[in-house]
């Protein structure tokens, strides 16, 4: 059987490995425009700040493709003919398949403002973005690129997120001194953090009146903003970008907002990502967000064609379909897709929502339904001060706990989800909270005084 996987990211690679685990004979081809080696996109920030090297963020040894006979094609996929079962590549080649998995991920949401095309304006999503920011911040790339890093350039379309970007630092003759980040989400705060690690004091322009308004509450958000400011970030809340202005030589020089202009020399636009699916045209059905519509078995509207990861609109716990842009759901979908590719009758099911993040040096864990303002819900909140600073927010409804939000401590979401499914009461959960603790050794336990309960 000929299996072609578009995308060398976590969903595509997980699927390719899982197929090979089951089927020693299948021909497996992995197509990628971005990179020769599977890498962890979530770790780009650590490479930019120098905490990890490029090689460190590759989870598999490089020999894995040869050892498991995964053929790599380094090219941009530009079209799909589901009738003829042919995938077209930008260099004119075609790949025939029996089963196709589309796992081509997301691309950054483009900046909508005038002047966004100036040199020094970009995103922080791809390996090429990383190379660009390394050059803006450090003047040179920190280590040799993987082989054939730019081999695809000749085939890359003008609007590809994987193209090499011009570096303002080169035309200016000095590295960036005053960066600006737009977008109060996770990529935004990561970009800010790396600028801080590089000794810069970035502007952080956030449209909303607080950082990350949906997942975390006003009190929680205020703590993160305090951490950001404490480390030297210039946080601008409730601020809308209007345009970007150049220096006359094509480099970005100023960002104009509704609160006034800011002098900058590098701008990271982090206002979300969208499914990277324009190339598919009408070949498979896509929804308004651009996500590929899939059934619970991850099959698209075209027979033999499946989709997984950021580019697929899957069914969420609330029954609606939309892309699920998380690392571990991409991995799970890749595994399910592998079974589907091999003909199993499988269903992708996402149970209770959970997630974690690290906001500056504050750890964040969430599970269940939080921040949705459901009718009849009530919230219990406790702020711990002392040796450990932490916040605990527990949402209940109809006498049962339905969601948790934690900052500053580590928690085992598996236990939290079990409690939600068991419909435990708030009092019961508070009595047993220690059982969900995942703090490192010798961290003092969370003690909730009786008065706070």
């Amino acid at each position: 059987m000929r299996i072609v996987v578009v995308g060398n990211g976590v969903a595509g690679m997980e699927a390719a490995l899982a197929v090979r685990r089951r089927d020693a004979d299948a021909t497996i081809t992995v197509v990628s425009e971005e990179s020769d080696h599977f890498f962890s996109r979530t770790a780009l920030m650590y490479v930019l700040c120098g905490q990890l090297s490029h090689r460190c963020i590759e989870p598999l040894e490089r020999g894995v493709y040869e050892r498991l006979r995964l053929t790599r094609v380094r090219a941009r996929a530009t079209g799909l003919d589901p009738e003829a079962r042919l995938l077209t590549l930008a260099d004119g080649r075609t790949l025939a398949y029996d089963r196709l998995l589309i796992a081509c991920g997301s691309r950054p949401r483009p900046a909508p403002w005038p002047g966004s095309g100036l040199r020094g304006v970009g995103h922080f999503v791809t390996l090429q973005d990383l190379a660009w920011l390394e050059a803006e911040l450090h003047g040179q790339q920190s280590e040799p690129r993987p082989p054939n890093e730019w081999a695809h350039l000749s085939v890359s379309a003008a609007d590809s997120p994987y193209g090499r970007r011009e570096v303002a630092a080169e035309t200016r003759g000095r590295t960036c001194g005053s960066p600006l980040v737009i977008g109060g989400g996770l990529i935004g705060i990561e970009a800010v953090e790396t600028f801080l690690a590089a000794g810069r004091s970035p502007h952080f322009v956030i449209r909303e009146d607080r950082f990350w308004p949906n997942p975390i509450s006003a009190a929680e958000s205020a703590w993160v903003a305090e951490a950001l400011r404490g480390h030297g970030a210039l946080v601008h809340l409730d601020t809308h970008v209007e345009s970007m202005v150049g220096d006359g030589r094509g480099n970005v020089d100023r960002v104009v907002t509704d609160k006034g202009p800011l002098d900058v020399d590098c701008v990271v636009v982090a206002i979300g990502v969208v499914p990277n699916t324009e190339w598919l045209g009408e070949a498979v059905e896509r929804d308004q967000s651009g996500g590929i519509v899939v059934g619970d078995d991850l099959q698209t509207s075209a027979p033999g064609v499946y989709a997984a990861g950021d580019c697929a609109s899957v069914r969420w716990f609330d029954g609606q379909r939309r892309p699920e842009q998380l690392w571990y759901t991409g991995r799970d979908q890749g595994r399910v897709a592998a079974q589907a590719l091999l003909g199993d009758d499988v269903r992708y099911r996402r149970s209770t929502w959970y997630n974690s993040a690290k906001l500056m040096d504050i750890e964040y864990t969430t599970a269940g339904l939080v921040g949705l303002d459901l009718p009849g819900e009530s919230e219990w909140f406790y702020e711990e001060t002392g040796a450990v600073k932490s916040t605990t927010r527990i949402v209940s409804r109809d006498g049962a706990v339905i969601g948790f939000n934690f900052l500053g401590r580590r928690w085992d979401h598996e236990v939290l989800i079990r409690w939600i499914n068991e419909r435990r009461s708030l009092a019961w959960v508070l009595d047993h909270l220690g059982a969900a603790r995942f703090d490192t050794e010798l961290v003092p336990p969370l003690v909730i005084p009786a008065a706070a309960r």
Partner: protein, 367 residues
């Protein structure tokens, strides 16, 4: 401030002396020169720099000069370590105890005890690391209670403690070699190779040295107890004593083990050659210590694998949701400390599920 977070991101790979630059190689060469002059000065036509210095400053032997330098390096390294990772309570406690053991048991007591008519004895080193503590000649020369202490610690207490707490009780809290690696050597911990090839080498090398330690101790003990007079045993035992001391005691643990810190990472000796680590690793594998993995939360960033000084590919286990025990793990706690998603935790305790412990190797197909 926050007990479980890195205080800001580290710029490890942007620092030349930590990234195998010419400066790093130069440092390594300096360390080689220091160790060769220390171990082999006065022999092979090399000048003896340290013994005259020791006598001039009243330190009795060059080994106390070495001990003093070693302790000072450890103290400086501890200051560095606590500045980098000191917000973790586990790190504070571990490094505090380790440095205290070195200062008191590793240097002060052995130096001071003979001044009061006592024996020069190192309470924090046991067979097979301190291989001569089970030689009959050594045991006869010691007061009976010290000889007994050495035997009980080596064959009973140390392995048993590793069953209950993991080998970390020794390798990361007590041992001077581990202590130097975790303090003076900490700036280079990310240089340890985590390749499959390095793992394979480690497994052969460390068990070979343990085998050598057992066999050589047996042969030497038989000889020293007067067995096999007039047979080949005598020359074999004599040569074994010389060569084991030279290759393992001097070259591997001293010269190579420490001098390659700036280039290959700080745990080369502990990971590949230390017979004590091999013995405790086997005990650990049978026991209750493990690294627990939180299910489906790993983002495969690689901080754990990169900052593991023993070259364990922690990420490979984390992305498979697999709690695990590796015999080489010294329980320094760094993987859990640097994990940006709080996925990892060091634990001592009964395994919850039988299957947890089954799959602890990584098969080829699964990474």
């Amino acid at each position: 401030m926050h007990l479980q977070a890195q205080e800001g991101l580290m710029s490890t790979f942007r620092t030349g002396w930590r990234s195998r630059s010419a400066v790093a190689y130069g440092l390594s060469l300096l360390l080689f020169a220091f160790y060769i002059s220390m171990y082999f000065g006065g022999q092979y036509g090399l000048p003896d720099l340290w013994q005259p210095l020791a006598e001039a400053v009243g330190l009795r032997s060059k080994w106390f000069v070495y001990g003093l330098v070693y302790t000072v390096w450890m103290l400086i390294g501890a200051a560095w370590y606590l500045r980098q990772h000191g917000n973790s309570r586990y790190n504070q406690a571990r490094i505090g105890v380790n440095v205290a053991v070195q200062v008191v048991l590793g240097f002060t007591l052995p130096f001071v005890m003979p001044l009061f008519g006592g024996t020069e004895y190192y309470f924090s080193y046991f067979w097979p690391l301190k291989y001569d503590y089970l030689y009959p000649h050594t045991m006869w020369s010691l007061p009976w209670y010290l000889a007994l202490y050495g035997v009980v610690m080596a064959v009973f207490t140390a392995p048993l403690a590793a069953v209950f707490f993991g080998k970390r009780w020794y390798c990361s809290w007590v041992c001077g070699c581990g202590g130097l690696a975790n303090t003076f050597g900490d700036p280079w911990r990310h240089l340890t190779s985590s390749s499959t090839a390095s793992w394979r080498f480690e497994k052969y090398a460390i068990h070979a040295v343990l085998g050598l330690a057992v066999v050589s101790t047996g042969v030497i003990a038989m000889h020293q107890m007067g067995m096999g007079e007039g047979t080949l045993l005598v020359p074999i035992a004599q040569q074994t004593k010389i060569w084991y001391g030279f290759v393992v005691g001097s070259i591997l643990s001293g010269v190579i083990g420490t001098a390659v810190y700036p280039v290959l990472g700080p745990r080369i000796w502990c990971r590949n050659f230390c017979p004590m680590a091999a013995l405790l690793g086997m005990s650990q594998k049978l026991g209750r210590f493990r690294i627990r993995v939180k299910k489906d939360m790993c983002i495969s960033c690689g901080n754990c694998t990169t900052y593991c000084e023993m070259g364990i590919d922690v990420r490979a286990y984390a992305q498979r949701n697999q709690s695990f025990t590796r015999s080489s793990c010294v329980g320094c706690g760094m993987c859990a400390h640097v994990c940006p998603r709080g996925v990892l935790r060091l634990e001592n305790g009964a395994w919850e599920q039988a299957e947890d412990k089954q799959l602890q190797g990584l098969s080829i197909i699964d990474y």
